[in-house]
Amino acid sequence: MSIKIAVIEFPASNCDLDALHVLNNVLNIEASLVWHNHFKEKDYDGVVLPGGFAFGDYLRAGIIAAHSPAIDEARIMLKDGRPILGICNGFQILTEAQFLPGALLRNESLKFVCKWVNLKVENNKTAFTNRLNVADVIDIPIAHGEGRYFTDQLKELIDNDQIVFRYTDEKGFITNDSNPNGSMDNIAGVCNLEGNCLGLMPHPERASEAIISPKGSTHGKLIFDSMIDFIKRRSK
């Protein structure tokens, strides 16, 4: 089968071409850039909501994009179990659209922060982490001003195993120093109950090629690889 992935382009998405590059040129997957008003779910096996500043983050990050027709289409995919990956601004859109629980608030420092961090894998039974092991520590960069995860259902998230990634130190310890934005419980990424929708603040597309990775790792690629594996298994 040939797998088709859509990377949705909202006005002022800006990591759209980066995600497209990794899917097309690193994973050799047929992915296309789709303008948000033109997106039709029936043509695709999975969707990526890329990072950026959709609609300028005006009003509140992600809120305007959450009302785009693209999200209505994506909701159909959500229901029938196709994978939906929201990266950074994509994560903000997914929480605003209530695909995912919680909200992303202004960083505790009140400043935008761009740096490489470590994440610990908390759940490898999702569509995006099946190539990883629980407790693996991965290198990946963040770049956001509003990434402080907050939820009033922390206990449910823990009980339902919906926390997928936490910010940790290099050894995998959850510490205050390794929390770059003040996220509750060091949460960096969460999924829906079914595990076919993941939102994370870090950028896997920036961690998929050794040449642009300070330590030469390609851990971000495993998230895309997992997504593709998941689609292949689903279609069997």
């Binding site: 071409l17 990072g51 300028g56 400043k111 935008f112 040449i211 642009i212």
Partner: protein, 748 residues
């Protein structure tokens, strides 16, 4: 300022009486009020370069002399052919005055403007770099306010548009306290065809003129006239002359413009920056040898009741003018519709060579298209300041503190310490091109996806050196910025500059400018570096305090690295490597950080530049690279070589054992040896086994190559072989001091 009057309206203009008479003579009538406004803007220093043009002639014709230069000075950006069918566009300009009054929007719209300049060349903007200058931060809430909001303005704008900020430079000096300098640079990448598609002129009569992007409002009216005066206490009242940025719209403009160009129907392209529509229309038609008829009623305005004067001179941000072939009009408009960008066909080009603007039935502008761009030049007087001799004669005081304490103080000083506080706020990775990221090298290094080619770029200058000797100081700036790209493995390919100076009407200020231009021109000719563009910002002078800024001829260099294996890192790689000092250390402490931080001294003998020697050092370094003899490399800058070595130690926590006996033959004082800022030097890490080969090459090029130590496992810097005493520095303490200065000042 003189006043002109037309039909009962009176207007203050920034024109000389001569200019006023000349304009009337040429038109054989009195201009309308709108026309006066247009002349005022287009003849401003900012648009017309009337003071600087005679000097800028020293910059050679790069397009003629270098076959890989596709666009040189006078265009929106310099463009070079970098092989594999790629064109690289780059430009630097200033946004000083607006930022000094309103740092957040001033800096943000500076970024907006430079992005448009690159976009005008038909290529995608892929990187930003920002050289900044402020007053010292310590105990200075005003400087902290400017610094904080300039950085935030750049971050918010650049981050939203998805263009990574990959480098920059910052200097803190009292002279920039009320005149901070905000220079912005941008790099664009496209194919040669992309570039050839969209010239900044309207060559064909009968094409449509489309205005696309933001609406035209009352903000920014007379921004350029404002930038061509000194800052006075009245400047607070000039706040309406600062534009408001909208990075969201800018991002859409970038995508819509690039997509419109791909249709093949765009025949000309111009951004609306300084001078707004009047500048864009007169340049498009004037340079293309055409004329145009424009219907002002079609221009979408932000508020009702704007008159022709306001519409033609508005500098509202986020606007582009397109010249489109009639048969492709619908296709281009469909692109704008997709992005939901406001747009209007505002007129057509014709063959009259006259720019006509109608407000209803009233002809409000009726000017020969070239009249506006033919501003006369003004010869300015030059005079070397009398105070310089005394300054240069200043001696380094007897060393009063212990050397280790001095080094700890230097590494924590504002000009030397880590700038991580700044670049953490910039998205420096978007675009997945950043190979050497902020803080990882002397320059920013980007890959060109799909090739094995890498772009290296750096910006900056040394204003303290330029203050004492603008001729050598400017050359020194060239050496330093070229050194940054060379240290990472790139040959400098081309340069653009941004000259920030005081009031050109003051002979001493103009002398600084003239000497700097001469220094840059001489250096570039000798080292064969094409100058492909520039920007001049005068009037960086505070009338209330009568102080001019230290001269800041800021340089931007781009270089190309062929092949991933040829990218050279900055940090020491291995334990047990040789540490080599390339280039001679001379008693040149004038304008050094050592003088300024330890003794609050501005004077002394600043570094001289010998181009012949610099060329030999560069050739030597590249021969080392070709033979794979370099493990890491760092060019020596502020604070001297001891600071450079510490910076190389930090990342991998590698220490060094130095024996400086080998460089004692010059008979320098210990502080001169350690802290001199002699230009053109590098610290190279190499393998012990390659020592003889490297020394042979050093002799071949007749340059100074000295082994000054080895790298060690212990995280310490041991310094032996000084005239006074040996001592040891603790790396952890140095790193803590290096990292904490700016956060301690800004995040309290």
């Amino acid at each position: 300022m003189p006043k002109v009057d037309t039909d009962g309206d009176e207007l203050e203009v920034n024109l000389t009486n001569n200019e006023i008479e000349q304009i009337k003579d040429e038109l054989k009538r009195d201009p309308s009020i709108t026309e006066w406004g247009m002349f005022d803007v287009m003849h401003s220093e900012h648009c017309s370069y009337k003071s600087s043009r005679p000097k800028l002639k020293l910059f050679e014709d790069a397009e003629k002399n270098y076959d890989y230069v596709l666009a040189g000075p006078g265009q929106d950006a310099g463009v070079i052919d970098i092989g594999d069918n790629y064109a690289l566009a780059f430009r630097i300009e200033s946004h000083n005055h607006p930022s000094a009054i309103e740092p957040y929007h001033g800096a943000a719209t500076g970024i907006g403007g430079i992005i448009r300049d690159i976009l005008c060349m038909g290529v995608r903007p892929i990187a930003l770099l920002d050289p900044l200058r402020f007053g010292p931060l310590k105990d200075n809430p005003h400087s902290q306010w400017l610094f904080k909001y300039v950085v935030k303005g750049i971050a918010d704008y650049g981050n939203c548009t998805g263009i990574p900020t990959i480098g920059g430079e910052v200097e803190f000096d009292k002279s920039f306290e009320s005149n901070c300098l905000v220079n912005v640079a941008c790099i664009g990448l496209g194919t040669i065809e992309d570039f050839k598609h969209a010239p900044s002129r309207a060559n064909n009569p009968g094409d449509y003129i489309i205005l696309m992007g933001g609406s035209t409002g009352r903000d920014g009216i007379h921004g350029v006239t404002f930038a061509s005066r000194t800052l006075t206490e009245m400047s607070e009242a000039d706040r309406p002359a600062v534009q408001i940025g909208d990075p969201f719209t800018k991002k859409l403009i970038i995508e819509a413009t690039l997509e419109a160009i791909k249709t093949g129907y765009v025949r000309g392209l111009k951004d609306l920056g300084g001078g707004g529509l009047s500048c864009a229309l007169s340049e498009l038609t004037g340079d293309g040898g055409t004329g145009a008829r424009v219907d002002m009623g079609k221009i979408f305005i932000r508020e009702p009741g704007m008159n022709s004067f306001e519409v033609m001179l508005s500098e509202s941000q986020e606007r582009m003018a397109f010249i489109v072939q009639p048969e492709g009009l619908e296709e281009v408009l469909n692109v704008f519709r997709k992005y939901e960008m406001a747009h209007a066909v505002i007129g057509r080009t014709d063959d009259t060579q006259v720019l006509k603007v109608y407000d209803g039935d009233n002809l409000v502008v009726n000017l020969p298209a070239t009249a506006l761009s033919d501003a006369p030049t003004i010869p300015r007087k030059e005079k070397r300041p009398d105070y310089l001799d005394d300054l240069i004669a200043q001696k380094t005081p007897e060393q009063s503190k212990k050397l280790d304490d001095i080094i700890y103080e230097l590494i924590a000083s504002e000009n030397i310490c880590s700038k991580e506080w700044i670049y953490r706020q910039y998205d420096h990775e978007v675009g997945v091109r950043s190979v050497l990221k902020c803080g990882e090298g002397d320059s920013g290094v980007l890959r060109i996806i799909g090739t094995n080619k890498y772009i290296s770029s750096s910006v900056g200058t040394n204003s303290k050196h330029c203050f004492l000797d603008p001729y050598n100081g400017s050359k020194g700036g060239m050496v330093e910025i070229c050194g940054n790209v060379i240290a990472n493995g790139a040959r400098p390919k081309a340069m653009v500059n941004c000259c920030n100076f005081g009031n050109p009407e003051i002979p001493e200020s103009f002398w600084y400018f003239a000497e700097s231009v001469k220094g840059i021109a001489d250096f570039c000719r000798e080292l064969k570096i094409p100058i492909v563009g520039g920007n001049v910002s005068f009037y960086n002078e505070d009338e209330a305090t009568k102080t001019a800024i230290k001269p800041a001829p800021v340089i931007m260099i781009v270089g190309i690295i062929e092949g991933e294996k040829n990218i050279v890192p900055l940090p020491f790689k291995d334990v047990g490597s040789d540490i080599l000092l390339i280039g001679k250390t001379k008693a040149e402490l004038g304008g050094s950080e050592y003088h300024s931080v330890i003794y609050h001294l501005e004077g002394g003998i600043p570094p001289l530049v010998n181009e012949k020697e610099i060329k030999l050092i560069w050739d030597f370094i590249f021969e080392l690279y070709e033979n794979n003899l370099v493990k890491s490399n760092h060019d020596i800058n502020k604070g001297g070589f001891i600071i450079a070595i510490a910076e190389m130690c930090f990342k991998n926590n590698i220490g060094v054992n130095l024996d400086l006996n080998t460089i004692q033959e010059e008979n320098l004082r210990d502080d001169e040896l350690l802290f001199s800022e002699s230009v053109g030097r590098f610290i190279v890490e190499s393998s012990k086994s390659d020592y003889d080969k490297i020394m042979d090459l050093g002799r071949k090029y007749k340059i100074s190559v000295k082994k000054i130590g080895i790298t060690t496992k212990e995280p310490e810097i041991h310094i032996n072989g000084l005239k006074t005493s040996n001592f040891t520095l603790n790396l952890k303490k140095m790193k803590r001091l290096y990292d904490s200065t700016i956060p301690n000042l800004m995040d309290k």
